[in-house]
Amino acid sequence: MKSKLNLPADRVAYARQLAERITAPVQDFIDGHSSVTVERATLRLAGADGASPDGVPVANLVVDRIRAADPAALEDGATLRYVNALLKTGGNERALNDRIAAGFDVTSLPLGDRAAIEAKADEIVAGTLARIKRNREFREGKLEQWKGRNNSPLLYLIVATGNIYEDVKQAAAAAEQGADVIAVIRTTAQSLLDYVPYGATTEGFGGTYATQENFRIMRAALDEVAEKQQRYIRLTNYASGLCMPEIAAMGAVERLDMMLNDSMYGILFRDINMYRTFVDQMFSRMLNSYAGVIINTGEDNYLTTSDAFEKAYTVLASQLLNERFGFRAGMPSELLGLGHAFEMDPSRKNGFMYELAEAQMAREIFPDCPLKYMPPTKHMSGDIFKGTEMNTLFNFVSKATNQGIHLLGMLTEAIHTPFMMDRYLAVDNARYVMNYIDGFYDDVEFKKDGIVVSRAHQVLGETIEFLELVERTGMFDAIEQGLFAEMKRPKDGGKGFEGLVKKGPAYYNPFEKALKRELGIVR
């Protein structure tokens, strides 16, 4: 790729160093901690499935009972107790899960021989990792088999009926219309539940519950359409929230292909405790990484809550931090779907050129990342005709700057959840633009000191200034003082703080160990 912006390489490298230095102390904290959802994710991977008659998941029952028996016991990790119970009861995971769901407390059994527990755990870990690896190989095989049949950028559509069976119909239609990626948006506020609901669901508000069974149903439906279309259809769901690691675990097992996973979204935009979020994102990203799941980060949120022109630097700063946290969790650039968005005020003079500058800047600074580009939402009104015009320019910028994942804009954004025809019109618009300008950008160079080039240099400069301030302040203090997204989040405030667990000297988590080994994470 030939640079069009001539961004100074040493300044870009310096910005990356800043991100590395800012995240280092956070990583030290992460390494010393676990959380209730990290423990539950580990239990799920070890086989803890199902729920009690009143809907409490087995993984929650185990963790809650361990904590109730001894508030400090979670320091050793929950898996030890679960595997111990498996050995002592002599049955399989399913039989144990049924007993736990019916009231059995794994802490009621004395701990047996440590070597035997670890040997059993290693066997379980090997089995689960093999399943995840098979999923990854299946995906890679299909992508190879149907190479060149997906759009570029990938066209990404959302379904959100609340009913998984209705979602399946909408998703199949969307895939038939040309979507490459289907995201099932979650029910409002699932990000704030400290458990993952169980089973197939048909009731949701503004979206559908992320449950393992719902994942499985949608996966099967999309695989069926893919065979018909001879085109791999990627499935996306949302990890961010109080159960990031668990949802990542479910996604790994059920072969999701993308997950919304931002290192700071929960803190800033959902008021989840900062320590909890940092700990959770690490474990969830290790799982995403091992499963070959592309993460989508949430930089668009910075632009919908603040002015997209003035706060453009917050996007690049967040992309650099998300990249570094991703690297620290063993993710390669190819799995980092760093986010940004086309959210400038449509009445701004030359707004198109600023959008082009920022999208091109992201492309040049993150050449190997499948960048996730979000459509206009904030300035979409009830004027569906104006909305179509804005989406057309968004499609133009996305194709021109070779974005990786293109979330299609809806002409009825801000009116209702998309009708089937709204999705059709969105795909039609994108395909028209993307074909019509296919080679255009190769023919274009920008004036050395023109509007586009100057804008990119300016945003890079502002980003570096901002990151320097964050480094001087320290990440935790910076969040507390409201440097990010103008949100002040106290260190011990926010949701889920009580679910943070300090790892004891005897902390045992065979999945964490295996993932770190497989991903080559040294610290």
Binding site: A173, T188, S191, F205, G206, D271, D345, G382, Y424
Partner: protein, 243 residues
């Protein structure tokens, strides 16, 4: 009496643009079904100008219809908070200084499970929306934006804590009438605590009209196209009225 009909390119031609989806395959039969359907809605004339397949069993139509229906424009009463033009930010602040002589305290949130802050942010955030500054920018106001997913109970507690004059409730998600449930619960909670008269209660959201809000027990409702100026004007005038 002023009788009006839709205007295409000639007075009273009654031309209307329509687009919709039918759960049938695309084709001549689908187009004819679409045409007959439009006629069945009372249109005197219909031309289906475009159709396309959406999926195996779904098709999309663009059609033009001609209606003879009309309305007496003079008999129409608008569902709006006030017929008067709203004051702008400076005028509101001047109004507060002159008529109230103290800062006006406003607390707002998107309540229930609704996670969309876009509405409450447009009204309250410093930056505002579309060149209309938000209430946080008003020097004579103290504005507290509690963000999204705030339980009604918590919103009321906070309003008591900061001694608020007005509470803004934003509702964006309307699926399964969740907004009606949230708004009703809010008013019922206030009434149960005997606090309804203590606050000016303002509802807002893209699908909230003044009529609906008033029916549910709010003082006013603001829908699509309302800005901070409109909300501020209503609050300060109502406060002056109360005093």
């Amino acid at each position: 009496m002023k009788v009006v009909r839709p205007y295409g390119d000639t007075m009273d031609d009654g031309k209307v643009q329509l687009s919709f989806t039918l759960p049938v395959p695309d084709g001549a039969k689908g187009r004819e079904a679409a045409r007959k359907l439009v006629l069945s809605w009372g249109f005197k004339d219909c031309e289906v100008v475009h159709s396309a397949p959406l999926a195996a069993e779904f098709s999309f139509y663009v059609a033009y219809g001609k209606t003879e229906s009309s309305i007496d424009y003079d008999s129409v009463v608008a569902d709006e908070a006030s017929a008067d033009a709203s004051m702008n930010m400076d005028e509101v602040n001047e109004y507060i200084r002159r008529n109230l002589g103290r800062k006006v305290v406003v607390v707002g949130a998107c309540t229930g499970f609704d996670a969309h802050t876009v509405g409450i942010d447009a009204i309250m955030n410093m930056k505002g929306y579309n060149h209309h500054f938000g209430l946080e920018r008003y020097p004579e106001m103290e504005a507290y934006n509690l963000g999204a997913q705030v339980p009604n109970e918590k919103l009321i507690d906070y309003a008591l804590k900061v001694n608020a004059d007005a509470i803004l409730v934003s509702q964006v998600v309307t699926q399964k009438d969740t907004h009606i449930h949230n708004m009703t619960e809010f008013i019922e909670l206030l009434e149960a605590k005997g606090l309804r008269d203590r606050f000016i209660c303002v509802a807002g959201g893209p699908r909230i009209g003044n009529k609906l809000a008033v029916e549910l027990g709010f003082d006013v409702g603001f829908g699509r196209g309302a800005y901070a100026d409109d909300v501020a004007t209503f609050i300060v005038k109502k406060l002056a009225e109360k005093n």
